[in-house]
Symmetry: D2
Subunit: 333 residues, 4 copies
């Protein structure tokens, strides 16, 4: 029974249908009808004019955004546990041409305006020290915590004061919005976000993510960088169609709610074991090695996060029986 | 009636079926069963042990290979009309960290050992001039010509003498093999090719290309670079499954033969107008502006290549009636 | 008798004196009194407010300028024989993060507005092809020809129309100005030049070149890039002092006149052998291999430029007797 | 009275003499007689065959070495306070093409084999996480502490076990050797160091540093990278001559002993205020803001390192009277 990663889940059937339906002759690259509808669909969702590009991975979305927001000689402030720092093989350095990730601490992989301010204040304003150019936050975070719109806005305010760009890695933005019930616009551009990696692959998509540019003037540069990084698929319609299928009738939000719901079900079963509050679709539990082995012997598949800590991730497709068995097993710990 | 680009064609139905069939829970990235079968499938095809990686675009395949074969301070010898020079937005410079493309002339976008030798001999062996590290050829070329295995081997021999790596951009390698009837092994590693971008997207695939490493020791570095460039899809099974579907029962070769056949049919209709011999699935014709306009008014969609020159590209799926009408129209010029 | 390269010449005695005189305790990097005087000295020379930075090589000056004027994904239009293309080991690719040099032909390594316009017009305005961002010209050129201010202005006008930046590699700008008698301002910013590599090392300096920014807002970025490239010497006063010594009383122009004068003396001796007009301090002669060997046997040191062509370069310090002997030898050919 | 930085000191008179003496016609770049003597001079000093290159800054020496020792996708383990991390404007990212600095803690900017081992053990061996490729240590450290040869050897042993290269930033290697009395060979290649940035500028030089390659096969690549980074001065003899002047009769060691001696004199005056042991030419003192102001009002120039901490740096040329006055002032705190 798989609770290992939302990356392991299948795509939603409607996504596969959309791929099949878009499999016909059309203009190559992003000139097709599906790709051409993206800007409009996301502008509707966000209630403002945005530009949107499909890419095939979250790493590409994050790093194309960062390359547009930070010069090669700049710094990107993020959490020490951010995906861009820990799990992207140095891709930000590659895409930006050598920019520096500036690492902050903070519980649950969240950063605060205070931490950003303190960090910046310690940097001498000279040519010997790298100067920060951007902040990148992940919502929901790598530990399944959620930034509320007001928290993002506080960071956005600071970013503005310090002339820093603000990027949001939204690999699980759907889960965050499902939890908070806040609007996509409040969570992003109204809070000062310049660019959002809008994740679909962990949430029912197959291999399409969206990069949303609230600063629409960045589009031309990002489009060039996408091509230059080998991310301009010649049959881009297959990516656009996936995204449109998930946007339609709020399927993306429905999927996220399903995954979050399962996470809550599991959290409720073992409230005293939680390493962090469960605010999205990830559950981190404190267990002994023996307990972990016992769970594994019962057929549950999960991630050994660190000594005494395990991680479960729930997906949009998670089945009822396996979930109930896991909840029972956790409750029995 | 579309004769514009093989990129505009749909994927083969078996490819869509394979995507759907692989849409189930499995290990993320390239740990799934489909991805794990790639090395074996290509090793069988090439009759030697190879390592194979899926990527989503030909640009990514080409540039990951070049980055592994050429240091940032090296040069890559290629034709002035090569895709890597003309149509990849400078991606080789991005992936390699600034390597220099060294441009040769030659009819039909083919380069010869003599041209390579002459170019190299003019470079001073000092630190002021960039020293070549690799040769990259395209087969079939951007003008639809084909290198025979013996021609590749002659370049491979020179490459070896000069300590140059040899890369083949095989965006249309299937068309080249369909034309020559030569074996995949004779065309590549036996001829000295170190890495091959094996194209599927123009030949019935959706968004999966394969990078084949005949120098298997390059695999680890290339795998890291793939991740670092944002090309490690989390549900890689969907890419691997496409490739395997096209390899099965030689579908890839069958598709290429179909496209080549249509090209021959068109070439036969207008033999005196051909700008180049038609050896793959591209037809370049010398026509006046008035003739081009006339063809377009008849509903044919093609590419204005340059003054007095137009390009048709045929695809695996090309329909009989449209082809016959185009052949008739060309014959009537 | 050395006529090989102006790089081989010694520095002017006043430069050595200036180094010694500046060898005392002062603020590190560019905070010292000499460095602080550079902006003013060059603003006086150019009759407008400029920002100036010392660097230790012409390659650094050129490439720092180009990195500020061209994005990683842009193109730099230059002559096929430009120093940045031929003799800087790919440094422009390194400093810019992979920008592409776009090579034009033209006699004597000069480019014309027509050639630039024709080149640009052939580039499709899409993301697949690299778009030009800058023009770089060398004055005097690698073949010792000179752009007059009006020629530069014509390129500057075109650059403006096409939104291209304009860089001048002035490794031998002193020689060009000495020949034309035109003012530094007419030759540069009034003609549309954005940044100038002002060469001193070939003209009496030891290891100091100046990068002049007519677009003063580029200074901060260039200063960071200079540090980041390891070119911010901690005792920068020794570089600034060299430059100031050469600027004082027009020593730089006097040196260039001396070198140019010797070149004219040699050119006059063999007018029928000149491969190019002699407009600066380089003389290219058509000679047979036997004649070249004969000259060498007489003790003259020069460069074999290519089959049947040799190059002499004259320096600020060239001695009368050796020059007269060479002139006689050339006249006797 | 300047105790601010050894970068502010003048060059030794013999260095200026050497520059003047080498100011004559000779082969350009590094073909001159002085440059050609460097390999031999350093091979003698280190008692083994080494290759040596001059560069004009320590940043260049460090980053050229790191670029040769670490691929773009690798990691360089160093202390959080290392110069390459804190004071080089991100130059390692630029020269390597985006490699990641992996930061360790440790008192006095020293790192231990245990810290390196622990750090490495936490890195998953997959393509998602950057894998370390090199260790870089600074001797003497940024806090004026010294690694003994045995400590370096312990790191060298670990580096070998883990297939990591070992670089030493020796901006103040002379001070470290003067303190320990250990041999240059024991401190470097016998301890497993692959490349050493041998600093001269802080120790009596003007603008010449040496990069020593104990792995001599790296020379060709480093020489190309030096040119490509704009660091191949055309009159390199002026850099080589400086280095040779400082090597002659052990002047470099004599200078370091003088600076270290002054530092000990100051340390002895205020033993209870020392933030770190004084092992080279830097003294960090714990003082109140009032005390710092008082010292400054007495005419002493120093660096405010952080809250309650000030830094003095002594130089080879430090004058007796100023030192005595400072020692008295410190003793009176």
């Amino acid at each position: 029974m798989r609770f290992f990663s939302d990356n392991a889940a299948p795509a939603h059937p409607k996504v596969i249908e959309a791929i099949a339906a878009s499999n016909r002759v059309d203009t190559a690259y992003d000139g097709d009808e599906w790709s051409q509808r993206l800007d409009g669909a996301f502008s509707d969702l966000f209630g403002t004019e945005v530009r949107a590009l499909w890419v095939s991975t979250g790493t590409a979305a994050n790093c194309l955004a960062l390359a547009a927001l930070c010069p090669p000689y700049g710094g990107i402030i993020c959490h020490r546990d951010a995906h861009i720092e820990v799990d992207e093989a140095g891709a930000p350095g590659f895409f930006t041409g050598g920019a520096k990730l500036m690492l902050l601490d903070g519980p649950g992989a969240k950063i605060t305006p205070e931490a950003v301010r303190d960090y910046c204040d310690l940097i001498r304003k000279d040519v010997h020290q790298v100067q920060p150019a951007a902040i990148s936050i992940t919502n929901a975070t790598e530990y399944g915590l959620v930034y509320r719109a007001a928290e993002v806005a506080a960071l956005g305010q600071l970013a503005k004061e310090r002339s820093l760009a603000l990027h949001m890695d939204g690999a699980r933005i759907a889960n965050a919005l499902a939890t908070t019930g806040e609007s996509p616009s409040d969570m992003t551009w109204r809070a000062g976000v310049d660019a959002l990696s809008f994740g679909f692959v962990k949430n029912g998509g197959l291999n399409a993510e969206a990069l949303i540019l609230f600063r629409t003037e960045l589009f031309d540069e990002v489009a060039i960088r996408r091509k230059r990084a080998g991310h301009l698929s010649s049959k881009g319609r297959t990516l656009a169609a996936q995204i449109l299928a998930l946007l339609e009738d709020g399927l993306w939000l429905e999927n996220a709610r399903a995954a979050n719901g399962v996470a809550q079900q599991l959290a409720t079963a073992a409230p005293h074991r939680l390493a962090y509050p469960v605010e999205a679709n990830e559950i981190f539990l404190n267990v002994s090695a023996a307990e972990a082995a016992q769970l594994r012997s019962q057929g549950f598949d999960f991630y050994d996060w660190g000594p005494g800590e395990i991680r479960f991730v729930t997906s949009w497709d998670q089945q009822g029986e396996a979930v109930e068995r896991l909840a029972a097993a956790l409750a029995a710990l």
